[in-house]
């Protein structure tokens, strides 16, 4: 378990801040914390995501090795994320799938793509003890 008062901090490039706000706040439903000319910060599922205005964005979205997201401890939270993705037609990279099926590490996962080509992963392990 993690400390509820600290925040994980993730900084990524965004080619356009309005796009980033539209995707993260309007799409994913995360909260916009602060906006500056060169970056925008979000309360991303309780952690801090910062989108820095930058031209150094991925040429095309590839899931490995760089991505970020949330590993949900409860299946219903993962289900709600899936439902949000469908309702708001958020851009996915592939389809929701099950990884390491039949092993202790089995988990459901989905990859999304933000407007700058950054890849997000949301997942949920059958056994939350193995989420690390």
């Amino acid at each position: 378990m993690r400390d509820m008062h600290d925040a994980c901090h993730i900084a990524i490039p965004a080619r356009d801040l309005d796009e980033a706000v539209a995707f993260y706040a309007g799409g994913l439903g995360v909260k916009l914390a602060r906006r500056y000319p060169d970056r925008v910060t979000f309360d991303f599922f309780g952690d801090q995501l910062v989108c820095h205005l930058s031209e150094d964005v991925p040429a095309r979205p590839v899931p490995y090795p760089r991505h970020f997201g949330v590993s949900f401890a409860r299946g219903e939270d993962y289900d709600r994320l899936l439902r949000l993705v469908e309702l708001r037609k958020l851009p996915r990279l592939g389809r929701p799938s099950v990884r390491f099926e039949g092993t202790a590490e089995e988990h459901r996962q989905i990859f999304l793509i933000d407007p700058s080509g950054n890849v997000l992963e949301f997942k949920c392990y059958d056994d939350p003890r193995l989420m690390y």
Copy 2:
């Protein structure tokens, strides 16, 4: 505040997994969760960090736009991180500094570099309500 049962998930490249284990577990003091031939996973301050074996590592460490780390809610936790960095002589990018001094967003920060050139940031806001 964030849910203590979920975990933020961050995946980054590592050119060598032994190096990654030496830096993250032996240096930063995070816990090694699982090791596979192509990746190693850590309980990174309560969140999940995955180092994927990859040649796609940064040519040289640059702090923006990509980095990740922890925003501590309590100053003593930031102080302990600084002390660990000194005791174990972890490689820094620049010196610990204060950002946005004299404003509501004022915070202390330090950048570290992992063996693959990934940049980490640890920080602590004067007013934890503004950590997002």
Copy 3:
């Protein structure tokens, strides 16, 4: 999530304090904290509600733009509120309804009216992450 030790503070007008106590404590089941000649304070679902004796009460109850209440994270808590409203025949403004049906913001809601014409809203989002 919110800090469990702080309290949101809401102050509203009441044309008669006995009426206010009868509705809020005897009806809604909130706890009476302190009573003074010119106001009464309540532990309103964990937050602080203060009814100030005042003639500046609404001419008639209108739901927008001013109202206050609780957004429940769990459906069973909303169900219990509905049941209380029925059992104690608390005065409603319209019927319980579903708002933004079929969207990510979908939530159930009910409006109540206090004796001074103040409007209360209780609601519950399908996806608690979108309750803000």
Copy 4:
């Protein structure tokens, strides 16, 4: 104490939504959750504040009987709010003061005014058990 997963819900009028965003997000440092043509929603210190576009705003800001805000359990959180008000020169209604001095109900308080004339109160009781 209150449930950390529920949210108190407060709806108020705003004559202009951009003004509201500038004051609440840019000034008070609360998080912008969702924006629609007729309203904007905030994560206001962990509770939900909704500003509805409306011409029914106060003629002039008066502290009683209607206001809302936060009652902090810890003095340092109140101090931080005061410091934010100074640093960002947020519009106050009067000066910070002490109410009911020398009694069990003693508390520090400050009133702010939002751009539409709504009044906010932030306070901190010497004895947090009496904050209701």
Copy 5:
């Protein structure tokens, strides 16, 4: 909700400390904290119960006005208590019953009797918000 670090403190008479230990620890399954010649202390469902050796015990067990016990927030905890009472054949005062049926205050309850004639009540409200 209550503070999890504090303890409610209840002191009652016991005509015999061995009897008290047999009933409270051996029967009800509460933990024995400390024993002195004139009293024994228990961790009674997280609160502190002290049995003082005394001849001032009830002439016969009567449920009102004096009794003490636990109001469970979750039905399954009340069910487990009932099951324990059956399995260990703890002495009851009457049968488990439902009080205020069909009202918002409806709750299940059972009265037990300790060896000195003190009466205990365990109960569970349909709506935990009304447990006070």
Copy 6:
């Protein structure tokens, strides 16, 4: 530690309910939950206290064997209780004292008397682990 969602339940006699409300709510600052012709219920420091209208009240207040109250885990909470007792001149049974001084069980304590002669004890152990 105890479950924060359950409540300890204490029922005592009161010769007059108005007196009880004046002492418990107006004096001790506990919250009035529900009032009926024959009893009144309080949120007593997070637990449930019920005062039953009864003539079976103590002939005179004696501290042993029957009393009830709170064992505070933090010294500052005990200090605040002492200050409340002074500010509101609540009736005490003796003076605040230290019990078992110089032993591991050392604790500060104060006895109060309610209008019906019931005795309350508030205390605070040097080592909270020994509060049971």
Copy 7:
């Protein structure tokens, strides 16, 4: 309940540290915290397990009197442990069983054996209040 910030500390012998890591981290899925030439430390279900390199290991695994493990409060966590044992074919001492069936102390249990012959017990009581 226990304090979530403290850790129980258990130190046991291991005849070979690689074997210990393979069993505890690779098998049981606990996290490797620190490794030294003469010992390895684990985050064992939130507590600290230390395996000291030693020849003083059990001649053969016997369940009594020495063993250690986890008593799960929730049945689904016990079920997940059983599933892990099956999926990863961890060495058991006997079969999963039910102890004290039909009594208040009824619980499910399973014994495992680590590579050095230390015995682990995982269990789950029907009534978590009796887990001590």
Copy 8:
């Protein structure tokens, strides 16, 4: 951090159960949960300790490789344990000391001996993040 509802489980030999109760409950101040002819169970700092009547006790107390105890997250809890050891003159194995001084793993520690020769360790790390 660990789950507050689960319990670590430690079973050790005791040559005499009365001795064990005297040391653990009367000395260390842990709570006696259940006593049977062949064993006694304790709520040991929130975890479960079981002393099994057995002749297989240590020939003489040696600190390594087998011991158990608590790693406190807060220095004041360790200090209180030290004070208890002094006040009640509990048998120690050596003096309180500091281990790994000047390194990130620095911690204070004390070893105690129970009547059967089992060794207990209580400790406190400067940096609680390294307590595993």
